[in-house]
């Protein structure tokens, strides 16, 4: 965060290329809302950005404690931004615990805005500072640009005779932060004011109170003269188009609806709430007017089973969950594989095993997606690389499920599920059509029905109950090739196992080839990634390339089958590094399939890779 000074304004404005702001406070302090509002406005005003909500799994951990700290991070820039950033330029700490947790990542000299009301004796004690120590007073923060502001008191003053209760007043203090930050970054308060007026349409007095607090935050920056300068991040030069801000979970929901609208199939979602996948069910429940049927089942098993029933009856069916729910769905996923019905299974991964780290991210369910069913039960596996990529991959999952009559697993994770970025809204025409037809006539040579007759891609027909003359039975028992009748015949089983596998393998001909994200097709080191590590890898590799390093980046969105050209592509590199938020799952698949000496790089801390970590590891490899 540095560039030239503009002194025309009362407070000089410094131009910056990109800035990382971290809002941090107690779970009840409203930092998520503040962060989202700040980011939305930033995006609206043309910056590229990436956000990272980082909150505890407890709804309300005991107030003021370290466990209760809830953070929201945004990196916005006048150039392309792919990650929320490694370290903060600006930290807002609403209390002592937030400071304690976040300080290690504040850049030297960075701006620290501390709410002094959150640093009373009790708060310091809860944050486990030694007795008598107050970091705001003891000079330990001299290396930062510290602004001590009694935000609670200033909010109270802004709301004298507002008629609001003391509790409501206290809860508005996040809006003061928002106003102040808008001032600091020379941004309009209008979009947020409009948002508040819409949100509190039924309680105009609340809306106006919040607006007043935003304005007083802004005015405080303008008048208090404690900030020597303001910062301006010019709009980024992004490809022309209409943009919106989108989280991964929203993008999956919209991707599913779009596939339904484009295919003309009714959308059915069977799901059971679980962090961090619940938003998808919630989001889709809002589209009843479009014929979207959402079903909150009694458990994850019923969720996928209802979806299987809906797929059988001719719907575009999906089920959404996270790791523990994925485990419950495995038997039914095997049934769907056996029945050869289209079904989209979304797993928004979180830290595991068991309940693990419900609100933290991880990529540890890849092998489960690949192999987590009994018997030989291969199915296509896709993974989204960023919040907006969740749209494309959800759409793709639907397309492949329907076109190939198979369940498809789509992997996302907590990091991109909750993180947001600007998304250039695609035109409807730019989306690949989804091709399918229901069978209406017997398809056998003698005019009889062959429910498991395969076309040239190995795909069986989709036959809806209610279709006259095509009554037939399907089931989980092994079936005779072609007729679908129950068969225990030895050779038939082998034929069917191979046919089901081959059908999935052939999907490689219906997906795009793997392409380079950055770098050249021959290099010293290839960084091969999948899923949400995209942003960090892309940033790291781009920086290294600009420093003259011989490195390239390929990011996989199709994990089963792999793109047909992947083996040839990998052959262009001397070394392959596979960074993953697990102990090396893609690594195993790549090494097993292509017999290349790829090397893994793991981080299993519930936190995404930082660009710095990746750069260091890649440099090590380049220098070896």
């Amino acid at each position: 965060m540095s560039a030239h000074l503009d002194t025309s304004h009362p407070t000089p404005v410094i131009e910056a290329e990109s800035v990382v702001v971290r809002f941090s406070g107690d779970s009840g302090d409203g930092m998520q809302l503040t962060g989202i509002q700040f980011s939305d406005t930033t995006a609206l005003l043309g910056n590229d950005l990436s956000t990272f909500p980082d909150y505890p799994s407890e709804i309300r951990a005991p107030g003021g404690t370290i466990a209760g700290v809830s953070g929201f991070q945004v990196n916005f820039g006048s150039r392309e931004v792919f990650t929320p950033g490694d370290a903060y330029d600006v930290l807002v700490a609403m209390n002592a615990a937030a400071l304690k947790v976040e300080l290690p990542r504040l850049k030297p000299g960075g701006i620290l805005i501390a709410n002094t009301a959150g640093f009373d004796r009790r708060s310091l004690e809860l944050a486990q500072y030694p007795d008598g120590v107050n970091p705001l007073e003891d000079g330990s923060l001299d290396g930062f640009t510290l602004h001590k502001i009694d935000i609670s008191k200033l909010t109270k003053e802004a709301l004298t005779d507002s008629g609001l209760s003391a509790k409501e007043v206290e809860r508005s203090k996040n809006m003061f932060v928002l106003g102040l930050l808008f001032w600091l970054f020379d941004k309009s308060t209008e979009p947020s004011i409009q948002f508040l007026r819409e949100k509190f349409a039924k309680h105009p007095e609340l809306a106006e109170a919040n607006v007043r607090v935003i304005q007083s935050g802004w005015n405080y920056g303008e008048n208090a003269e404690i900030f020597p300068s303001r910062y301006r991040v010019r709009p980024a030069t992004l490809p022309a188009g209409t943009y919106r801000s989108i989280t991964g979970n929203q993008a999956i929901a919209i991707g599913l609806i779009t596939a339904a609208e484009r295919s003309g199939l009714p959308l059915f979602l069977g799901s059971y709430p679980i962090t961090p996948a619940t938003d998808i069910l919630q989001e889709l429940s809002r589209y009843k007017a479009n014929g979207v049927k959402t079903f909150q089942a009694e458990d994850e098993i019923a969720g996928i089973c209802a979806a299987i029933g809906a797929a059988y009856a001719g719907s575009l069916a999906a089920t959404t969950t996270s790791g523990p729910g994925m485990a419950l769905k495995t038997e039914a996923a095997g049934l769907a594989t056996m029945l050869e019905l289209p079904l989209v299974i979304v797993n928004v991964q979180r830290g595991g095993p068991s309940t693990g780290l419900p609100t933290k991210t991880e990529q540890a369910d890849l092998l489960m997606a690949m192999y987590g069913r009994h018997g030989e039960a291969p199915l296509p596996v896709l993974a989204a690389a960023s919040p907006s990529d969740c749209f494309s991959m959800a759409y793709e999952a639907c397309r492949l499920a329907v076109e190939h009559m198979t369940p498809v697993v789509l992997l996302s994770d907590g990091y991109i599920a909750n993180g947001a970025e600007p998304w250039r809204i695609p035109s409807e025409e730019s989306l690949q059509p989804i091709r399918f037809e229901f069978l209406h006539q017997p398809n056998g040579p003698d005019g009889e029905l062959r429910p498991y007759h395969r076309d040239e891609r190995g795909v069986r027909p989709w036959i809806k109950p209610g279709t006259k003359g095509l009554e037939h039975r399907i089931g989980g028992l092994e079936k005779q090739s072609e007729t679908g009748n129950v068969s225990y015949e030895a050779l038939n089983h082998e034929i069917m196992v191979r046919q089901r596998a081959e059908k999935v393998e052939r999907i490689a001909q219906n997906i795009p080839p793997a392409t380079l994200d950055s770098g050249a097709d021959k290099a010293h080191v290839l960084v091969l990634g999948w899923g949400s590590t995209y942003g960090s890898i892309k940033t790291a590799v781009r920086e290294l390339l600009s420093e003259g390093c011989d490195v390239a980046h390929v990011h996989l969105r199709y994990l089963n089958p792999f793109p047909a050209n992947l083996g040839a592509l990998l052959a262009g590199y001397e070394q392959i590094l596979v960074p993953e938020m697990n102990t090396g799952q893609l690594l195993q698949l790549i090494r097993a399939k292509y017999l290349v000496p790829a090397v893994g790089f793991s981080k299993i801390q519930g936190q995404p890779f930082t660009t710095g970590e990746l750069k260091n590891r890649i440099l090590e490899m380049l220098n070896s």
Binding site: D40, L45, G46, P191, P235, L238, P239, G241, T242, Y243, R244, S245, I254, T258, R262, P266, F268, G270, Y287, K288, A289, N290, G291, K293, F295, A297, E298, I301, A302, C305, A306, A307, I308, G309, A310, Y312, A313, G314, S315, A317, E331, A332, L335, L339, I425, P426, E428, P465, G466, G469, L470, E471, H472, R473, I474, G475, G476, L477, N485, V486
Partner: protein
């Protein structure tokens, strides 16, 4: 000519519902009778053949699906009704029949069982209760009686069994009935009622497994005991049973008592009159023998224990969707993609 052809097509016979698959139940298995009764009543239910769908779980009972020449899915253990609910939500036009066993429904599928009844999808749920796990060759089930000796309870079961009627009522089922494999006429009547009922119709069919639990229900079909041990309920009719219909049941507060008609001035009008819509009495019926006065033995009830329609789930779902669509209209895809706020570069 065309019309005549169509009419002929609509006239179905039981044979039209017999699939080509060889039926593989053991000789004498009660499942044969259930299949027969279903195939017997289906032709004149007024439903086009292609609109029938059978969804079954796993068990001897669940093989049923393969033998019906309708649409059908033989699924996985315990999950039939969860799948059936999806079929019904996706296409409410279909006549959906769930086939399941006592283990399939009340053990592994217990959660789906109670929730499907509570949510009240318009489907027919036939649970073949043989009080044993048959397909796995004879382990005790959640309906096996205490003390039952099976392969996994060589010293007798120590468990209290489920009472399926009561469990269904407790789950807020809208229709609860019981019938018997060895009483074809009665079964046909109950199945018709289940079919006509709009909502989840739960039918417990007591089914003999001659291999692993033979004779479990013979008392209710053997002509020497049937009239004493079974009572066949009729809506609006007094509870009468006995070889010469000489006995009745009356309610003394909440306690049922067996009385003799014509003795102590008791006539049919003093008896408990069956009311299908009375939930409290339905619970009493489900527990008849259990709650009888000390020393008194009660017959087991058969027929429609409880039936009270309320709107089925999928219909409420469609209604809500239509209402929202009427109010706010379909959201154009472009609007869905754009969300609330956009900006243009």
């Amino acid at each position: 000519m065309q019309v005549a052809l169509d009419e002929r097509e609509v006239k179905l016979s039981p044979k039209d519902f017999v699939s080509g698959q060889e039926v593989k139940w053991c000789p004498g298995c009660g499942d044969y009778s259930i299949l027969k009764q279903v195939q017997t009543i289906f032709p004149d239910l007024g439903i086009p053949k292609e609109n029938f769908v059978f969804i079954s779980g796993i068990g001897c009972s669940s093989r049923f699906t393969y033998y019906m020449d309708t649409y059908g899915m033989h699924s996985i253990h315990g999950r039939a009704v969860a799948i059936a609910s999806g079929v019904k939500m996706a296409n409410p036009e279909l006549s959906v029949w769930v086939i399941s066993g006592d283990g399939d429904s009340l053990s592994i599928g217990g959660n789906h069982f109670i929730h499907a009844l509570r949510k009240n999808f318009d489907l027919n749920y036939l649970m073949f209760n043989n009080r044993i796990y048959s397909l796995t060759k004879g382990q005790y089930s959640p309906t096996s009686e205490r003390g039952k000796v099976t392969k996994t309870t060589p010293f007798g079961s120590i468990e209290e069994p489920f009472n399926p009627l009561s469990l269904a009522l407790g789950a807020n089922a809208a229709f609860v009935a019981r019938t018997l494999d060895r009483d074809p006429k009665h079964m046909q009547g109950v199945l018709r009622r289940a079919h006509e009922f709009k909502g989840a119709a739960f039918v417990e069919v007591l089914q003999n497994c001659p291999i692993f639990n033979d004779g479990a229900f013979f008392a209710f079909s053997d002509k020497n005991t049937k009239n004493e041990e079974a009572i066949f309920l009729q809506h609006g009719q007094p509870l009468v049973f006995g070889n010469n219909a000489e006995k009745g049941i009356l309610l003394d507060g909440l306690t049922p008592r067996v009385v003799r008609l014509g003795e102590d001035g008791i006539s049919a009008s003093n008896l408990w009159i069956h009311d299908e819509q009375d939930k409290t009495k339905a619970f009493l019926l489900a527990h008849l023998d259990e709650i009888a006065a000390e020393g008194e033995h009660m017959p087991e009830p058969f027929g429609i224990i409880y039936a009270r329609e309320r709107l089925p789930y999928e219909e409420l779902m469609e209604q809500q969707m239509r209402a929202i669509e009427a109010r706010s209209g379909r959201i154009p895809l472009a609007k869905i993609l754009a969300g609330n706020r956009t900006w243009t570069i």
